[in-house]
Symmetry: D2
Subunit: 268 residues, 4 copies
């Protein structure tokens, strides 16, 4: 079971143009700051947030209780010119969990409802650190620096990566997995339910059809942070040529992860 | 002439995994904070930055001089665990300008060069507020809240918008125009050289081929901020049904823009 | 028992002038941002940080475990151009606790030692939420807005408050209590060991000798946040004239605090 | 002539307790973030802000025009849950300038007036970079690290520095100079009208009466940033034992400042 929190700024669109359109650089600063804050506040509880559309965010929150969620929601109200709604759900796959969470949120009213404020909903039982697990694939494109960043224009590289992103995300969806851009040429993909073979096959298909060469560290842990740390290490092992294949899996507390050379051990 | 600044965090990829992979929530907070800061620092000089790939950013900087650029570069070094390279160029179209700027940056060495630090380059003459102009199209998708946000799952809406984004950006490129996601279902598109008709035709093509219905406020001004303010107002005029067609153009200091009802006037 | 965490930026002074003095506005932005981040990161775990000297900070951290401390320390390293040392101690009074914590930190080397980095020390057993307690007095000066802010110059008001601050803090020290400025004319004072009468007498003495009229909400709770919430409510009760005297005490889960009218109940 | 901007959060006190007292860690994060932002936004225009009481801030703004001020005021409204009033004045001394600015602000209504919002006032003509000048003394206490930070408890060091601060600021006021704490044991003191001898005598008096040994770099420049850079360099020259006496003065574009060894030259 993976626990997903869907967050939505209440009535944000209308606010950005009331009474007149607000300065774009301020809106960009405001939105990215909200993402920064939520990353730190969920992060210090081992969660991981994705900026998604900036006014709608998706987080992996296994092990994070209701009170902490409510405190973060309250902290946003205390410091921002708007409020934030939150809906939490868990399911076997991340796609299913976010779908349940969104549905419940929608039942309270439109994203642009003037009255709907600070929805706080829990659709299913919370997933504690002892039950459930988070599976994250940290995927990147092979040698982007050498083949794109250092050769093509900044915008062309950007466009190629956006293009690859959409292709990757559409493929992931077939497995009820999600994908999010995390900077550079990196994607973090919650994918409970997929296995190493699914990923490898998917990469082969994408290589054949679109000529994009991908690889992934696959991390399985109790929390989003545990899983992402292991996924990062897995990806480093492939980058360093220390394994064959395009996917390397590490599972928290498994014998395999205990044998990781100290050099790869993340600090807490 | 439009002036574009291409920025790149120096040797960022290797830093994120040295000595071990750094916590993902921290990296997300760090990257989005850099974007927040640059938005405020360029914004207070009427520039507009786009986060692009977070480690590679593109900004529209007409009217911003070299000293200000250098001061912002220096401010990043003073407050971040990394440094930032900057390359400035101007051209008739934004695509051309960023291409020139990137090329010059690449001549100094790889993005992952350990020695290359704080490149500061100006390829062409700077564009003052009195010469040149910035043209920005603020484009959104029709009724996303009603047809997607309030109906589909948060992730499906996200995926549909990413898909539309790639289609839009590929079309824009044919006109040497750029596109950037600015949150929700909004795109800000530097497009010096396109005219209202080009945009309308492009929107018709996208509607026909992909079923995506777009509209745009087109702003033409001395600086990125002037242009984006006017583009925002143009888009509001369409949203309010106060004009026909899918594009509404406003030009700084033109008679038309002087006739804007007070209600639409942006504060400075 | 109150748990105090003493934090110190490692070798900060020399860094600010290497290789040349860094721009002052950048240093101010950097220091206050660190304080913002620590406030959010400890805050989401119910702690409370005081900026103290900006390069040396003091926090009340009852109920916050070692792993969380270490994760925050690590998060600073991941996002700042410097590192942070932490030393934790608990004692019957806050003065004693910070003294023990500082002493242990000093044993590792000078604040300006080039080698000493990321000290992490725990002098005594941690205080869980079930043992120990935090006592905070939220003290302000009577009618500063009416008698100073709206009449005197901004700087004169500032100076008068700094003067009152030093007088108050010297008096508090006699009780092994600490005091910190938290904005406006407000001071937050960790004061385990003092009682309502101690505070009242101290206020009378200060009124007699210095003509400064003070009042306090006194909150006693399991964590810094619980205590400060109750202290805030106590102060509001006095401000609203709903009680006599210059001190109003509220204790978590006591009958008295359960009788607080709903209007005064803090959200979590 | 020095130009001073007095800023005040509108009706902040009441907001912090409406409808109930807001979480203290959030308020601390909010206030220090405002200070961070203003430091960056004025800083990129060569101004320097002091946090003062957090809800009332004082800035040195020579060379910063009205439009920039208004844009920063507007940017705060766009991103914060409150608004900011600004009042600008210039005079021969900083004390006089802030006094005029405050008086004008007060004429618009109380700091806790529910209706008064976003006051924007200019009492005197603005000071351009070509007229007027900024004089800043960067003052610190001799060997605080060796005698206090590394020996006394964190709180005792803090208290001693707060005590020295009040003594210093009272002495400065006799010269119509201002003083602000900028972290560690450092004070930045706008002091147009004082000369090197005034400072030296003042330091001798403070040493005699209070046993506190001070020194200062004195910078005179066109903007706050120019002056603070020179003051920083002056202080470094004393710290390095490269001059006798407790004050070292550097004036922008003077022969003396041109002879500064390259090692001391600030980057822009």
């Amino acid at each position: 079971m993976i626990q997903i929190t869907v967050m939505q700024i209440d009535n944000y669109g209308p606010w950005t143009v009331t009474p007149n359109p607000r300065r774009e650089s301020d809106l960009q600063a405001l939105q990215s700051r909200l993402y920064t804050d939520l990353s730190l506040q969920f992060g210090v509880h081992k969660g991981l947030v994705f900026y998604t559309r900036f006014d709608n965010l998706i987080a992996v929150t296994n092990g994070i209780d209701l009170e902490t969620h409510k405190r973060i929601q309250n902290s946003v109200k205390n410091r921002y010119p708007f409020t934030l709604s939150m809906s939490i759900a868990s399911a076997e796959t991340p796609y299913e969990a976010q779908k349940i969470a969104t549905k419940r949120l929608q039942e309270y009213g439109s994203a642009q409802d003037e009255v709907r404020k600070e929805v706080f909903d829990v659709s299913t039982e919370l997933v504690s650190e002892n039950e459930g697990y988070v599976q994250l694939a940290h995927i990147d494109i092979d040698d982007v620096t050498g083949t794109m960043t250092d050769k093509d224009s900044a915008y062309d590289t950007y466009l190629q990566i956006k293009d690859a992103q959409v292709k990757l995300f559409k493929s992931l969806k077939k497995y009820n997995a999600l994908g999010f851009f995390i900077g550079g040429d990196n994607f973090m993909c919650p994918c409970n339910g997929m296995n190493e073979n699914d990923l490898s096959c998917m990469f082969e298909d994408i290589l054949k059809s679109d000529g994009i060469s991908l690889k992934a560290g696959l991390g399985i842990g109790k929390t989003a942070e545990d899983a992402s740390n292991l996924a990062d290490i897995g990806l480093e092992i492939i980058r360093d040529g220390k394994c064959e294949g395009s996917v390397y899996t590490l599972k928290q507390n498994s014998e395999e992860s205990l044998k990781i050379p100290h050099n790869y051990t993340c600090s807490i």
